[in-house]
């Protein structure tokens, strides 16, 4: 398993995605990122962890260790799970201050594909970001 935010950073994602010429390679990469996430226990698939307003189901749980926020995320859709992994590359294992200061919209804007998907209400990406930001407030 890859530790997002440590083994793969936001900058790595931007770099890697710029390699691919075709949409199918880009999506394959994103789907594979999703598969690298640490699995969420089914017992954590509870309403309290569910992010509302997404077309697919998206769950988020978090814990604080040594002043850093660690997240476990999951989705029942492959691509959304990959998008969550990309958000994790930005946020996982960071301090509250780091999360507050990180320009997530600028990060999305720097990736062509995220620019589109992050505004799709059904992707749940912005709801996830809002939840994480409120945890870091």
């Amino acid at each position: 398993m890859t530790t997002f935010g440590l083994d793969i950073t936001a900058a790595d994602i931007v770099d890697n995605l710029s390699f691919f010429d075709s949409w199918d390679d880009r999506y394959k990469y994103i789907i594979d990122l999703g598969k690298e996430l640490s699995p969420m226990a089914l017992a954590d698939h509870v309403d309290d962890n569910l992010i509302r307003g997404c077309q697919s189901k998206v769950w988020l749980s978090s814990e604080i260790k040594d002043g850093r926020l660690y997240f476990t995320v999951d989705s029942d859709a492959f691509i959304v799970k990959g998008l969550l992994a990309i958000v994790m590359a930005a946020y996982n294992g960071k301090t509250k201050a780091e999360i507050r200061e990180f320009d997530i919209q600028g990060f999305f804007a720097s990736i062509d594909l995220m620019r589109h998907l992050s505004t799709t209400r059904g992707s749940g990406l912005q709801s996830m970001v809002a939840r994480i930001q409120s945890l870091a407030a």
Binding site: Y27, I31, Q55, F78, V80, G122
Partner: protein, 411 residues
């Protein structure tokens, strides 16, 4: 039965729809989201541009030439709609913002006067949320109950169960003519006959039917028929409520404001006649004129041939779907409009929707505002490809080639 369109005839029709001729994500657009909204022929776009360029004015009040012209076109549009669905009188055509507002109007206005504690409103399990929630809201206020009419696993209304639910406490039966999520064509004439036998009124949600074949509200004998202009190749923001005249006359106004009054004073207000009683505020004048242009356009085509073409598209797509490993068609009623709902084992509808979009193919994914129905089928949602007469067999080939590629990527 009429002959389907030839390839040449479809090409000629496609030329009337400018939006279809574009690239999306590097591929020629394949638009298969017609149940969400239909595209607009040039004639509709031209009518809107002409109206705002030459005639724009407020209706019914102005003491000037522009207002006279706008009013004449606006009222002539009402006549077009009345003729289109064979309503006996133009006063039976109420302009609304769409199907949803039409149902809310009937539920709130008719419901307030006609529903009491212990009364029942029957809605089918196939209904869109907009034909469930307005009834729940008025039921909450009046003490009535909303009861679902069951559908079987093909997505067909269980008529025996429906008849068994009918008794003298059933005051309203609200069903769609065609299911938005599954495409089932409901036996509305029989439903109306049975409901009338116990004295219930019937509202038919025609949103998904109106684009596909001619509707005759008198032959159908419904009490209310509702639809949206934008699903009939017209503009968004305009919709229609047809009602039996006696019922509309008895119903209290829905919203108060300008246009719907006769006289206003602080000691009391008297309301305008039909249809204006239900049309508070400045209406969507351009939308009504645009909708009439869509109807005029459809009347230049052989609608039976269009319907036969859509049937052929659905049959072709269904046959191809059944050959895809792991694909399950959701909605297998015998009688269906051109809607293909499906899921693919091991994938989520949202994955498929996003990856089809990458290949220039527009479909709808999700619960289609029919969550109770999706629960019955044990799925959070489906992928829905919905066809119109401007779609081609080649586009269906593109859909299935794209699905093959997606299966390789995901599975």
């Amino acid at each position: 039965m009429s002959q389907p369109l030839t390839t040449l005839e479809v090409e000629k029709i496609r030329a009337d729809f400018p939006i279809l001729h574009q690239q999306v994500n590097g591929y020629p657009l394949v638009y298969l989201d017609n149940a969400a909204t239909t595209q607009k022929p040039q004639a509709v776009i031209d009518a809107l541009v002409y109206y705002y360029t030459h005639d724009n004015s407020n209706v019914h009040r102005g003491a000037h030439a522009l207002s006279d012209r706008a009013t004449a076109k606006f009222e002539s549009a009402r006549k077009s709609v009345a003729d289109f669905i064979n309503a006996a009188h133009t006063q039976q055509i109420i302009w609304t913002r769409g199907t949803t507002e039409s149902i809310n109007l009937v539920a709130a206005s008719w419901g307030a006067d006609n529903l009491q504690t212990g009364d029942k409103v029957l809605v089918s399990a196939l209904e869109h949320h907009s034909d469930i929630v307005p009834w729940q809201m008025i039921a909450e206020k009046t003490g009535a109950r909303v009861i679902p009419i069951p559908v079987d696993n093909s997505g067909t209304i269980e008529m025996e169960a429906f008849v068994a639910l009918l008794d003298s406490r059933v005051k309203m039966v609200a069903v769609n003519h065609v299911s938005n999520a599954l495409g089932t064509i409901n036996p509305v004439a029989e439903i109306i006959k049975q409901a009338h036998a116990v004295g219930a009124k019937v509202l038919i949600d025609g949103a998904q039917a109106i684009a596909h074949w001619p509707v005759d509200v008198q032959a159908m004998n419904c009490d209310f028929y509702v639809f949206s202009g934008h699903k009939l190749f017209g503009p968004t923001g305009i919709g229609v409520l047809y009602g039996r005249r006696k019922l509309l006359e008895q119903m209290p106004p829905y919203q108060g404001g300008g246009e719907m009054i006769e006289t206003v004073s602080f000691s009391g207000t008297t309301f305008n006649q039909l249809p204006y009683k239900f049309e508070a505020g400045t209406p969507d004048i351009a939308g009504a004129i645009g909708l009439a242009a869509a109807i005029d356009y459809l009347n230049t085509l052989d609608r039976a041939a269009l319907a036969a073409h859509e049937d052929a598209l659905l049959a072709y797509a269904t046959k191809k779907a059944l050959a895809v490993p792991g694909l399950k068609v959701i909605g297998t009623a015998k009688s269906k409009a051109a809607v293909l709902g499906f899921v693919i084992e091991g994938t989520h509808p949202s994955d498929i929707g996003m990856l089809l979009d990458q290949q220039g193919i527009a479909v709808r994914t999700g619960h289609h505002c029919a969550q109770p129905l999706m629960q019955q089928f044990g799925t959070p949602g489906t992928v829905r490809a919905s066809f119109s007469f401007y779609n081609t067999f080649e586009e269906i080939d593109r859909l299935f080639a794209a699905l093959d590629k997606i299966r390789q990527l995901l599975l």
